[in-house]
């Protein structure tokens, strides 16, 4: 092996080591578990808080970063915190807030009508860019199944935040409640070119 090749190999291994170390350090800092997933988004039509029909697949598969959760308007405990995290993300993004597409999908489609969803978003002072979607129970079930988030009843609800990077269409799946700073960092990761 020539000196040059040896030097290149050493540099390459050193780079790998640095990257691995950074990755390990990052993972060690993180206090929650996450996974990277690929999902096939179903081609269903949902309805937003303004009563507007939303072609869900094209709405989600966009060049904007997407953050998605499952909530319902009369939920206790989990949804208020998930929704507070959406608002805080919008606040922390400041003028960039409209560039994030935040989507809350109801798991109580029987009750959550556009009017109820609109009132809910108003209560949380949601800014443009955060939409609340409802639809037929069959379509909502399809969406839940597509994201490996199916529950037979809203009372079996659990916290889940999904972040889609427009870079590769992959999703970060976080099955815990995380802090505002952690969500912001996850979002920025997804947004990186």
């Amino acid at each position: 092996m020539s000196t040059r090749s040896l030097l290149l190999t050493v540099c390459f291994l050193a780079t790998l080591a640095v990257l691995a170390h950074a990755s390990i350090a990052e993972a060690a800092d993180r206090k929650y578990t996450r996974s990277i997933e690929s999902y096939t988004v179903p081609d269903v039509t949902l309805v937003d808080q303004n009563g507007k029909k939303i072609p869900f697949k094209s709405y989600v598969e966009t060049d904007q970063p997407v953050v998605l959760d499952f909530i319902y308007a009369t939920c206790t405990t989990i949804c208020p915190v998930l929704s507070a995290s959406f608002l805080n993300l919008q606040n922390r993004l400041g003028p960039d807030a409209p560039k994030a597409r935040l989507i809350s999908i109801t798991i109580d489609p029987e009750h959550d009508t556009p009017k109820i969803m609109k009132d809910y978003l108003k209560r949380y002072r949601a800014k443009p860019g955060w939409d609340f979607l409802t639809g037929s129970r069959a379509d909502i079930d399809r969406v839940m199944r597509a994201f490996n988030a199916y529950i037979p009843d809203k009372m079996s609800h659990y916290q889940l935040t999904l972040i889609r990077s427009p870079r590769d269409g992959k999703w970060v799946r976080i099955k815990e409640l995380i802090s505002s700073q952690e969500l912001l960092e996850e979002f920025r990761q997804a947004w990186k070119k």
Binding site: I78, V81, S83, D108, S180
Partner: protein, 577 residues
């Protein structure tokens, strides 16, 4: 929250010490020892303190009128306009459970007493258990009783008296000394005493029946309910024996009570019902009202229930009070109003009627007609549509050929909503033959009853029918022959089925309520129930949730196939979006 995360003990102690020093510096005045009920705080009367405390707890509003502020998840600012203590700990203060997350009770009776893993046994009970189990029952509490100071630490810093860190979704509140005292005062009074209507042995219920209800419908309500109560009481001996000798904390055995059910029969005009209800209640204060039936309005019973804060569970009425804020009556559905609502959603969302098309509602100016038309109009306008043209028929006025011809010639409606009974059959024939035939006609199966199968064949292609129940089961989902031939029997069967749903829900609710005999808790445990599918009910689905007061949210829109025994063709989802 039930889940706690362990943290460095030294940090916890430091935080507690810092808080106590902070409170001392800022003049935190320990005004009451654990469990005491001070007579008002910070110079306010008891009533005023409770009012302001309730505003903090339930609405997230401080006495200053500003929203409560707090931090959740470590760094997330929130305020009382988004959610309040009540959102998770519920109106009763007894907490909630959802998706595996348990929110613990926050009422004074619970937090001002130590929390043991196992119930404290009496000396005689201790003698009965095996000796090796004794240490388990004598173990120190896993959470000592809160005091005013430690409660303030928990609310400010999220640390409980045992030093454990509360779950990060429990907000850490920014409350000043004065507001903290008001809130603590309220928590002490919250669900402090069990509600009226429960004794050591019995939970008292009543059911309300108004006169003019046909006898067979009245029996259809009373017989299943009374059978349920007597059946449950016949098993009481077994449960009572088990409760007497059992020693497991908070088990359903300990909470077991016999049930009593009184008939509150209301006579005469509705404006006198309130007085009669008050008299019944004075003679026998009940815990809740179960079922019941009226052939007319339900408003006086609704108001009575709301003002006395008495739960009224699933009465049979076509005229529930439509409200977004009323709390104490849980209805099966919005009744006739819901059918009007379904038509508006179908026409607006599914058909997507162009805005320039004329919609006419024809209805009798009766309670029924007004309920249907209000359901349509309010929902229709909520969808951003122009109000429909309303033709209310006066008493004695009928839907004649001339009336319909004039209407269609003059208004040229694209859609007619015909809120009428059997007379709709002849009207539909006229409409089908009209030169200016509308594109669509909507009718109600509730009003048509047995005439549903008689709708003229030539009109079936453009006629839609509301159907607020699950469709008949069967290969072809054909119209139920019983319904077409013997409508009274069909109505009675539906009522019996509804009382069966009530019994199943009641069984669950009594078990979930445990020994927390608070009326608010009774409603809350129903709110926390899983949805009931059609095996429980003659609706497609009953669903619940905090503040959701109409359990069935749907109504099918159908078309009829051809012939005398037509196929019911579903043209909408159960809930239309």
């Amino acid at each position: 929250m039930n889940g706690y995360s362990k943290k460095n003990g030294l940090t916890v102690v430091s935080v507690m010490v810092a808080c106590l020093i902070g409170m001392a510096l800022f003049g935190w005045n320990i005004s009451a020892s654990a469990g005491e009920q001070p007579a008002g705080v910070v110079g306010l009367s008891r009533v005023e303190t409770l009012r302001l405390g309730e505003n903090i707890y339930r609405k997230g509003i401080l006495p200053s009128g500003k929203p409560v502020t707090a931090i959740v998840q470590g760094d997330m600012p929130i305020d009382g306009t988004m959610f309040s203590c009540e959102s998770c700990h519920m109106r009763s203060g007894l907490g909630s459970f959802e998706g595996g997350v348990v929110t613990t009770p926050t009422n004074g009776a619970n937090i001002y007493k130590p929390q043991f893993t196992l119930r404290r046994l009496t000396p005689s009970e201790m003698e009965k258990i095996p000796r090796y189990l004794a240490p388990l029952y004598l173990a120190p509490p896993r959470r000592p009783a809160y005091t005013d100071e430690t409660l303030a630490v928990a609310l400010h810093e999220g640390v409980d008296p045992s030093g454990r860190i509360l779950h990060p979704v429990m907000p850490r509140y920014f409350l000043d000394d004065r507001d903290m005292k008001i809130l603590v005062y309220y928590l002490k009074a919250l669900s402090a005493e069990p509600s009226t209507g429960v004794t050591d042995t019995t939970i008292r219920f009543a059911t309300v029946v108004t006169d003019k209800v046909p006898p067979e419908e009245r029996d259809a309500v009373l017989a299943p309910l009374e059978k349920y109560v007597s059946g449950r009481n016949s098993r009481a001996k077994t449960f009572e024996t088990r409760a007497k000798y059992g020693f497991f904390a908070e088990s359903m055995d300990l909470s077991y009570r016999r049930l009593s059910l009184s008939r509150w029969e209301l006579q005469g005009p509705p404006e006198t019902w309130r007085r009669q209800l008050e008299e019944y209640y004075r003679q026998e204060p009940v815990f809740a009202i179960l079922g019941g039936i009226t052939s007319g309005e339900w408003q006086p019973v609704h108001d009575f229930s709301e003002e006395h804060r008495i739960p009224c569970i699933l009465p049979i009425t076509d005229f529930p009070v439509i409200s977004e804020t009323a709390w104490y009556t849980l209805y099966f559905s919005k009744g006739l109003y819901q059918e009007g609502e379904a038509v508006a959603r179908h026409l607006g969302m599914t058909i997507d009627l162009p805005p320039d098309k004329v919609v006419v509602q024809i209805f009798h100016d009766t309670r029924e007609g007004r309920a249907f038309s209000a359901g349509f109009q309010e929902t229709w306008q909520g969808l951003g549509r122009q109000p429909p043209l309303n033709r209310a028929l006066r008493t004695g006025e009928t839907i004649t050929k001339e009336f319909l011809q004039q209407l269609t010639d003059r208004e040229k409606p694209a859609v007619i909503l015909l809120w009428a009974g059997p007379e709709a059959v002849a009207a539909l024939e006229t409409i089908a033959a009209s030169a200016n035939r509308p594109e669509l006609v909507y009718l109600s199966s509730t009003l048509l009853k047995q005439s549903l199968a008689k709708l003229p064949d030539q009109a079936r292609d453009f006629t839609y029918v509301t159907y607020p129940y699950a469709l008949p089961q069967g290969a072809s989902a054909q119209l139920n022959q019983d319904q077409t031939k013997v409508p009274q029997t069909a109505t009675t069967v539906r009522i019996i089925e509804k009382m069966r749903s009530l019994s199943l829900i009641l069984t669950d609710a009594l078990m979930m309520m445990g020994s927390n005999y608070y009326r608010d808790r009774f409603l809350e445990v129903i709110d926390m129930m899983q949805d009931k599918p059609r095996s429980y009910t003659n609706y497609e689905r009953l669903s619940f949730g905090p503040g959701q007061r109409y359990a069935s949210k749907g109504c099918y829109i159908l078309q009829l196939g051809k012939g005398l025994n037509p196929e019911l063709i579903r043209k909408s989802d159960w809930v239309i979006h």
